[in-house]
Assembly symmetry: C2
Homo-oligomer: 463 residues x 2
């Protein structure tokens, strides 16, 4: 376990080496590793090779491993006493269109001042996820430079297809499960709570997605000739959808809340203290009335309560003008966000039973599943969470907070189900980083103090 | 008023001239008067000129009048004592694709035997509406040939854009309203009740069509980040649509049935006697349960009761696969079929009030009207209906029946609102004529006895 003088030396090394750290990030940002466009396959390979070479130079055994898609970089540091951490980030980036909205070339990184005078790094991938990835690698570099070694055993698995579906990672993890065994996973691909407040995300909602298609007549009918007598599947579908929510905003599926636990009073109090402004959150997107269960805060609705959403709905004529058709079919794409304790298979079965119970006898329904995964929760009493929170609090001079997320991050579920690993989601992005959009940026402070944060987190986890 | 010997002579003339009548129909069927395709504009002009020439040869003052689209043929017979009738039909036809499904060239008419040994005329327009149009013109020809004159004053207005929207007819009628004044309109563009039973359609439902678009957030949202807290317009729309029908199948708009009268016990009894098979009607399109108001027959639902139909509905992601979006907007195309007494403006206002009353406070709705027209009813006690029914009954040796129709025929509304004319809808098409489809046909019997029917109807109306 490193002592505090060692950690201080490493932090000083980070500060002294910042200019070189930035130059290395710029080198990586210049590589056009757009994973979704086959035209950039060679650039993805280049990025993977670049990272493997950097890690090898730091004393890792690193290589860019082939997959049916883009390579996965795997690296292992020397054996060490103490826990073994597995770090994940991704080196691929989103496409850059619409290119004309960029103020500078997305692959010619720039250090600029924003309109508040903050230094920002502008480039595709500056935040998502090359900048975040290098916060960790540069922290390892500083440890090596200042002390000659890392404070614990570190492995890395760096993906090249996070922005294009990530289908090749789970089989890769299964194939290399023995090699990738560790004690805890660290993922750097998330936001801070705000510019002052570091956070660790410990709750990710799960998802059950289903598509339903209701068939009434055996062909489209003319509403003049058949209207009133013939069943209209649009009406049937609308009635089924309407029945999924009660007037109080709760979801009506049988047993939907049976396995849902209330969050602890401590966590509830911490969330209440976050200063989250329900009105502003909704107001920013043009809304004002929370739509979920009455009596719950917006954060609770988003992080700790399950939901049912109609993601798509269509039936009949939807083009310009008007057609007096009674369609044969109507369909909807419906998803449920799940929280800890809910079983995706049970929720899917309850949904299908709910639909079938409301179907007129001369209609049929078909279901197409679109994936399902349980919610992920990092145990609050695990051995690493408290240490990581404390390390972040020291760096930012403000207590780090535990947050949830309404969406899922698939790799976290894969680490749990394939490698048996809990994950600490620690990231330094800001909500205004414009990821996936033109003029993506990463605050220089996110980069600098992100590196410093990892120096402290590694020291804390080693202890 | 013609005596029965005169009428008998005219009918004999029809029988003797049938071969020539058929040859003239074939000449007209060879003209490719597809109104919707600009490539056939000259063919539409040719058809109009052909008809005008035929009518001039019969002693009418006829001409093909230009419009912003295809010509309208207007013809006036000599002045006569008695009522003045205005006959309507259309000379344009539907496109012929898919051409490969035709067994013979759609514009090379054939007289064939069908699989039951019935003679049929096969060509595009054989039934809809060239064959039906010529039943009337050939009846006039027979009157002229057998007696030297028509039994009453006849005018004709023959449209060339019925299959392509018919937008130019209402302004044409308004411009020539004085010239086209008459006592009753006759339209030949409908079916017989069945092969044995002639019918006159006296009830056409009206229509109010409206499009609604509900806006919740000011942009599409990610259902992981916002789901549960953000209002989902798909859910809002589904709840509004579901609220439009009560569990008993009735429409829930305030005042929707206030102006709806029950049909007379006589008409109800006549409809009950038609032998209409609710189960077979629905079974033919794969359904079994009438969807409208419980306790009403299917014919009543279709002809005498108003309805609300969701003709189109869409919101969010509707392509392949799945996107976890909460859309900003959702929309629907909704129409109401009206019956006699209902005011389209009042129904539209009630619908919009119904929607607005159910809208969450942070959503907005916009409405786009897509036309509205009242239902049309020919008065059962008018001076012409009974005479026409009796004439048809004589020709077919079976009592002619009064029917309704679930849809609207716009020209009937235009004749009423612009010319102040009631219309008798008398047609000889059969339900299996394949209009608008490949291998359209018209029974030779429909053509022959259709001509004979008009001979008798003209005699009866003159009396």
């Amino acid at each position: 376990m490193p002592n505090s003088a060692q950690t201080a030396a490493v932090l000083a090394q980070v500060d002294a080496g910042l200019e070189q750290s930035l130059a290395r990030l710029f080198d990586l940002l210049r590589i056009k590793s757009i994973s979704t466009d086959p035209a950039y396959a060679q650039e993805c390979q280049r990025a993977a090779d670049w990272i493997a070479a950097e890690l090898n130079a730091l004393g890792f055994e690193a290589s860019a491993r082939p997959t049916p898609g883009h390579p996965v970089v795997v690296a292992h540091g020397p054996d060490q006493a103490g826990p073994h951490v597995l770090f994940y980030a991704h080196y691929d980036v989103q496409p850059v269109d619409p290119l004309q909205l960029w103020h500078t070339d997305p692959f010619d990184p720039q250090l600029k001042d924003d309109d508040k005078g903050r230094k920002i790094i502008v480039a595709r991938g500056a935040s998502d996820d090359k900048g975040q990835m290098l916060t960790f690698i540069e922290a390892c570099r500083a440890w090596k430079a200042a002390t000659g070694s890392l404070p614990l055993k570190v492995s890395l698995v760096l993906e090249g297809e996070e922005e294009s579906g990530g289908k090749n990672l789970p089989p890769f993890l299964r194939e290399h499960a023995e090699e990738l065994k560790a004690d805890i996973a660290l993922v750097c691909d998330t936001d801070m709570w705000d510019r002052q407040t570091p956070s660790i995300n410990t709750m990710l909602r799960g998802l059950v997605a289903d598509e339903i298609e209701i068939t009434a007549a055996n062909k489209d009918l003319h509403s003049g000739m058949f209207g009133n007598a013939a069943r209209n599947p649009n009406q049937v579908l609308a009635e089924i959808i309407a029945s999924l929510r009660a007037p109080d905003g709760s979801v009506t599926l049988a047993g939907f809340y049976d396995d849902v636990a209330e969050i602890s009073p401590e966590l509830k109090a911490q969330w209440a203290g976050l200063g989250f402004d329900d009105k502003q959150f909704l107001g920013d997107v043009g809304l004002s009335v929370p739509a979920g269960e009455q009596g719950r805060s917006v954060l609770e609705m988003l992080w700790a309560r399950p939901t049912c959403e109609i993601n798509g709905m269509s039936g009949g004529y939807t083009g310009d003008g008007f057609k007096t058709v009674i369609p044969a079919k109507a369909s909807a794409k419906i998803s449920f966000r799940l929280v800890s304790g809910q079983d995706p298979a049970k929720i899917r079965a309850a949904f299908r039973a709910h639909v079938e119970a409301r179907l007129p006898s001369d209609c049929t329904v078909s279901f197409t599943p679109h994936g399902g995964s349980p919610a992920i929760t990092v145990p609050a009493d695990g051995p690493f969470l408290a240490k990581a929170l404390e390390a972040l609090s020291s760096e930012w001079n403000k207590p780090a907070v535990i947050t949830g997320a309404g969406g899922s991050i698939p790799v976290v579920g894969d680490f749990k189900s394939i490698l048996g690993l809990d994950t600490l989601l620690i990231g330094f992005a800001q909500v205004d980083d414009q990821i996936h959009s033109p003029n993506e940026k990463y605050d220089l402070e996110s980069y600098h103090r992100g590196i410093r944060s990892w120096v402290r987190v590694l020291a804390a986890l080693a202890g």
